[in-house]
């Protein structure tokens, strides 16, 4: 793999060869597989898949999505005819579970695994091996400098290398000293292995996040329930109004805890001009029991502040009013008594009410209408709610009698009444008119069909109940990923080499070079720090930065000439190869090369 990459770079011919190889893989099935694997785990493929993933995620925000809004999707398809159906065939209403979206991220993660595993092995080996051999020409490294220890300092070349090794070790480098007692001892040092480790942790953790999400999808469940003040929810399948099990859900997973809504308070904004009446606090007092026999516990349930119970979390997601009514039938018996959940329709809790009374005799009764917490009627006779609070509660209803169609067992939406087969009793167009009730009042239905009383108003809350077993591990992996990311971006992997030699006149000549792997904008600063450390350790005269500019053409190039001999031409300590930056901003154009240049 690496060979081919290098070959690609050198000349176009091998590229063509590689392409030909790609086009006609006369490689046999195994070779083909290997070829495909190499392609899939290449950096370019990873990048391509990442970008593709970004693009593929977009349609999910443009079209309504089934998991979030099933009804909107149905309506959308209805409204858009063939176009809607086409979109549906393309799974554009289920983008995030669609075949194509899944294909992209599964390929991406296979590529990821194919990347991470070999890199982890390679890195493990690298961490256990010695720093690479000392290059012949240190001066070609991006950071390079020399030091000269006077002869009378009594620091022979081998001592100098060992002392440098000690300093670098203290700085966190792994150091190997070579040719310790030879004429030109050197050392290789490396640090920053954590960078690659961080990168591997990051990528591996992403797999962890994905697996956690999958576990949540398999074993989790969620459901909804509406609780009127006084109601109790018991965590069993029948307790839910709506229930969405994960793929591998078993009903034995449900712990039969209970939660009772004692009281629900809403605070409305009474100060801000533009937002008068906007709710600013929802507060539900609940009594919970972990198991049927456990002691009761008082808790508060708020938005952004769920209650956790029996391995689930319970969230406050909605609320409204539930007018309490008593309905007597034609026979004079109480056919129904209790709160009716009113469904929010408009501003200020303008809500719709549907009451079905299947127990009424001789005829079943049905009511449809509205509840308004603060009723106002315009001159045109249109009623609206003037405030979300209960200043002037009013129930306006039409009534019907007949067969509600509930007896055949077909499920019905409790918030809708199909009046097709019913006979109207009360509405605006009939002589009897509609029903308008204030709390405490009773209305007698025409024709002796019974009566309805509006006894008072309670509040209700909608709660979402979720169990997601993958959640904690998703969080842990996400945190690991960020930690890995930060390490991989901010630890620098660096190598340092130092070589020493003794000049004919007894001076010890030292040269060093630094190389970064990957992006490292602080390499120059590191070179300077190391130079400073060595200077202090060997008590050399502090060098003054730019002193060495100019005649460095022949600076020790051990690969070519003896460092001792070459150093003859060095008038002073040679400065690091960092060039004069401040000069670079000047407006003159350097006609020659300014500052020290590298030898070629």
């Amino acid at each position: 793999m690496s060979e081919r990459v290098k070959a690609n770079k050198k000349s176009p011919a091998p590229v063509a060869a590689a392409k030909a190889e790609a086009a006609l893989p006369a490689l046999g099935p195994l070779g083909m597989l290997r070829w495909a694997w190499t392609q899939l785990t290449s950096m370019r493929t990873a990048l391509f898949l990442l970008l593709l993933l970004a693009v593929a995620a977009v349609p999910g925000s443009l079209f309504p999505q089934r998991p979030a809004n099933p009804f909107v999707v149905t309506q959308y398809i209805k409204d858009n005819g063939d176009y809607g159906k086409l979109l549906d065939t393309l799974q554009l209403f289920d983008v995030y579970s669609s075949a194509w979206f899944s294909a992209i991220y599964i390929l991406l993660f296979i590529s990821l695994i194919g990347c991470v595993v070999p890199r982890a092995i390679a890195h493990y080996k690298a961490m256990r091996s010695q720093p690479p051999r000392t290059p012949k020409r240190l001066s070609r490294l991006p950071e390079y400098g020399t030091l000269v220890v006077p002869a009378d300092a009594g620091l022979p070349a081998s001592d100098a290398i060992n002392s440098a090794a000690g300093l670098l070790r203290k700085r966190g480098y792994r150091v190997e000293v070579r040719d310790d007692d030879g004429a030109r001892p050197s050392l290789g040092a490396e640090r920053g292995f954590a960078k690659e480790v961080g990168n591997l942790v990051f990528h591996t953790s992403l797999i962890g996040v994905l697996v956690s999400v999958a576990i949540g999808g398999l074993f989790g469940y969620s459901g909804q329930r509406i609780l009127v003040e006084g109601d109790t929810f018991v965590n069993t399948l029948v307790g839910y109004d709506q229930f969405t099990p994960g793929t591998n859900f078993q009903s034995s997973q449900l712990q039969p805890y209970s939660i009772q809504l004692d009281k629900f308070d809403v605070t409305f904004d009474r100060e801000s001009p533009g937002k008068f009446g906007q709710p600013i606090d929802f507060n539900a007092q609940v009594t919970t029991k972990e198991t049927p026999d456990a002691p009761a516990k008082q808790e508060t349930l708020k938005v952004n502040d769920p209650v956790t119970l029996g391995g689930t979390s319970i969230y406050l997601t909605g609320n409204g009013y539930a007018p309490v009514v008593t309905i007597r039938d034609g026979a004079g018996n109480v056919a129904m008594q209790g709160p009716v959940v009113a469904k929010l329709q408009g501003e200020n809790y303008y809500s719709s009410v549907v009451i079905k009374v299947p127990d009424a005799r001789p005829e079943q009764l049905g009511f449809v209408g509205f509840f308004l917490p603060t009723a106002f009627i315009t001159d045109a006779g249109i009623s609206f709610s003037g405030d979300p609070d209960l200043f002037n509660p009013q129930l306006t209803l039409n009534s019907y009698f007949g067969d509600l169609g509930l007896d055949n067992g077909a499920p019905q939406n409790v918030f809708e009444l199909d009046v097709k087969d019913l006979t109207p009793l009360n509405n605006r167009n009939l002589a009897a008119g509609g029903i308008t009730l204030a709390p405490g009042s009773t209305y007698t239905l025409p024709d002796g069909k019974g009566s309805i009383s509006f006894d008072g108003v309670k509040r209700y809350v909608g709660v979402d109940i979720h169990h997601n077993p993958g959640q904690v591990s998703a969080l842990i992996f996400a945190l690991l990923a960020v930690a890995g990311l930060i390490v991989s971006l901010y630890v620098n992997r660096r190598r340092v080499w130092v070589r020493t030699g003794t000049h004919a006149d007894g001076r010890t000549m030292v040269e060093y070079g630094l190389l970064a792997r990957g992006e490292d904008h602080r390499l120059a600063a590191e070179a300077q720090s190391i130079r400073k450390l060595l200077t202090e350790e060997w008590q050399l005269a502090a060098d003054d930065g730019d002193a060495g500019g100019g005649s460095d053409a022949g600076v020790s190039d051990p690969g070519v000439s003896d460092p001792a001999g070459a150093a003859d031409s060095v008038p002073t300590q040679q400065t690091p190869s960092r060039q004069g930056h401040n000069g670079a901003d000047s407006v003159t154009i350097p006609t020659g090369s300014a500052g020290p240049t590298k030898d070629q």
Binding site: L51, R137, V303, A474, G580, V587
Partner: protein, 377 residues
């Protein structure tokens, strides 16, 4: 009863925002003046230098021929040695990123058509208009900061709960981050862009999104609002800087190519701007910080979503776009390490990423319905 809204404070805040916008406008003019003036001066200096060079070296073309050679070798030596073993461990097609040290070598010698320092440190002659502009921007940001603080005091909470506040606070953070970066790096060439953007944001806030001080809806009453949104705004401010730098990088690299090919330099003011490679390197570093910030934004958003809605991820429109932005910038970071994708292509990714940020902030907030519809519209 919770905190009582203070409308006087709110009124002060709005006044301060307008004052800040006014100050920025003057600063903007000064920044623009700086660009215009400097490009003229630089051209004159260049001409003179070219003449001098012509008489000395006998050539009239002020192209530093040495650049290519010296930069080339240092790259080869450095990166070459790197490549050998990095590929033993890396996936196919992995590139050595154009490193800063290489840029530095190129920067020092290269003088053809460029003046700004590769490291973007302060140096060289004093640019009076630029100094005036920066001073005015500092004044503006102080007034602006006072506006943000009075808004917070008036509402008794963090000032980022609706579009008006996102815009005013966001503009403040963008300018403040820019000024903070200015302490270390000479990015004054970005002044017109950043200050111009702040003006647009303030004007849009006051004209299109004006909202009086008020309480937060219960869904937003969480300390996660403080954490999640503040990190999002700061990351976006950084992305703003890198967007500008990447855009300039594209222009600069085009210009450099033109000049290298012997073409005429039509964009004189770009002399104030560092080389394409230096821009790429610095914007990479800023993008890396911003990417970490965005990762936190995403994560904290997920934690908050879990607290508020019972699921940490539900592909809500806002979540989708936050994810898209994250993936695009992850792509950018990858591109910088992929052969054939560094330089211009990476810059395009950075630009696309920022366009997604803007889209997420404007269009998604305004026109897409989702759980995140808190824009206060």
């Amino acid at each position: 009863m919770p905190f009582v809204i203070n409308e006087t404070m709110g009124a002060y805040s709005e006044l301060l925002m307008l004052l800040a916008a006014g100050t920025y406008t003057v600063a903007f003019i000064a920044f623009a003046w700086d660009l215009a003036k400097s490009s003229k001066v630089l051209r004159a200096v260049d001409l003179k230098a070219a003449e001098a060079a012509g008489t000395v070296a006998g050539t009239k073309v002020p192209v530093a021929a040495g650049v290519g050679a010296s930069a080339g070798t240092s790259l080869d030596a450095g990166a070459g040695a790197n490549r050998v073993d990095s590929h033993l461990a890396g996936p196919a097609g992995r590139a050595e990123r154009p490193s800063s040290s290489a840029a530095k070598q190129a920067g020092a010698g290269s003088a053809a058509g460029r003046t700004a320092d590769a490291d973007m440190r302060y140096a060289g002659e004093r640019r009076v208009p630029a100094r005036v502009a920066v001073a005015l921007t500092v004044l503006g940001v102080l007034i602006h900061g006072a506006g943000v603080v009075t808004r917070a005091l008036g509402a008794g909470r963090v000032p980022w709960g609706n579009m008006y506040e996102f815009l005013t606070t966001g503009a403040f953070v963008a300018v403040a981050v820019f000024l903070l970066v200015l302490i270390r790096r000479d990015l004054r060439f970005l002044g017109t862009f950043v200050v111009g953007l702040a003006i647009i944001m303030l004007v849009a806030a006051s004209v299109a999104y004006w909202t009086p001080v008020g309480h937060l809806v219960p869904a937003l009453q969480s300390y996660w609002l403080v954490i999640h949104v503040s990190i999002a705004v700061m990351s976006s401010a950084l992305f703003t800087l890198t967007f500008a730098m990447s855009a300039l990088q594209l222009v600069q690299s085009h210009r450099q190519k033109t000049i290298a090919g012997g073409g005429a330099d039509k964009l004189g003011f770009m002399r104030l701007v560092p080389s394409a490679l230096s821009l790429e390197n610095l914007s990479y570093r800023i993008n890396a910080i911003a990417f970490i910030g965005w990762t936190f934004t995403l994560m904290f958003g997920a934690i908050w979503a879990e607290k508020a809605w019972g699921r940490f991820w539900g592909w809500d429109t806002k979540e989708v776009w936050t994810f898209v932005i994250w993936v695009v910038y992850a792509g950018y970071l990858h591109a910088r390490a992929t052969r054939g994708w560094t330089g211009t292509r990476a810059a395009w990714l950075s630009i696309v990423g920022y366009l997604c940020v803007v889209f997420n902030f404007t269009i998604v907030n305004q026109f897409f319905n989702g759980l995140h519809s808190y824009s206060g519209l």
